[in-house]
Assembly symmetry: D2
Homo-oligomer: 91 residues x 4
């Protein structure tokens, strides 16, 4: 997924730095609500990354499986999509 994989990698690198920034905020005893708001921003950035990965997944693996002859493989990718949907928003 080349260009997209680069974008995903860059965003995860940025999330890592953001998490380190939050660690410093905790060490420095910054105001709890400010820290909570930064954590919310990190969660939003992670949701964006998940969406990009899912976009790629739908156009690659899911498309291949759904257009292929293997009924079990089709059932598997559909079941995985349902599980992702069910897990979403639980955090």
């Amino acid at each position: 997924m080349d260009a997209k994989a680069d974008d995903v990698a860059r965003r995860l690198k940025s999330v890592e730095g953001h998490v380190r920034g939050v660690q410093r905020m905790v060490e420095d005893g910054e105001y709890c609500i400010d820290i909570v708001n930064q954590i919310t921003a990190i969660q939003r950035a992670l949701k964006k990354v998940s969406g990009m990965l899912l976009d790629h997944h739908l156009h690659a693996c899911v498309t291949d499986a759904m257009r292929g002859p293997d009924a079990a493989a089709r059932e598997r990718v559909l079941g995985e999509l349902l599980e992702v949907f069910e897990a979403t928003g639980k955090s």
Copy 2:
């Protein structure tokens, strides 16, 4: 917040390592759904940290403000709690 702050710091350190692990998964071209599930686990870990910070905040700053004489300070902490509630679940 001493012992609790240590626990929060340790959990954020663990989240940072988890994010690096996800970066390696992307580099290694691992299965998208496995990566998405790891990101979901990170979001859950972050939600737990937010809950711990909020717990501390309620028992420290919010309690002080609410029991204090400054009506504007009380209004401010209540407004912040509402904003946190509204932002929650949007990621």
Copy 3:
């Protein structure tokens, strides 16, 4: 909570009608994604109502308990707020 209670009641009445509309969409065999999007709109409307109730709760019960002499009552309202935060976004 008078005017606010009226607004909450009106919004819940509207949610009830919205749910009936979704029932009709199911009966009429409408496109699943259109139905799912209407359900998402209902969930958003319910979140708004929860926010209004929480706003009232913070300014009434929580303020009374926090400014009162009963430490157990203070602990109870703080614990309830934490539980609401933890349950939020799990649906």
Copy 4:
């Protein structure tokens, strides 16, 4: 979607009754946190219904489109799935 449509219809009927129950709680001036918790239960029930509709959608419309010859139709169903994922958890 026959048996499943019956189940979805029955669950939506139950949600409608639940919403009316919450309206009565508001009229009777019941404790805000109890009302908020009931609203959370309704949101969970609606998420379950969305999951059932999505399950059906994946096995019917998405499977048909993905296995069919129309590239634009395939792109459309994938785009809709991404939008549902992005909207999930925002309430």
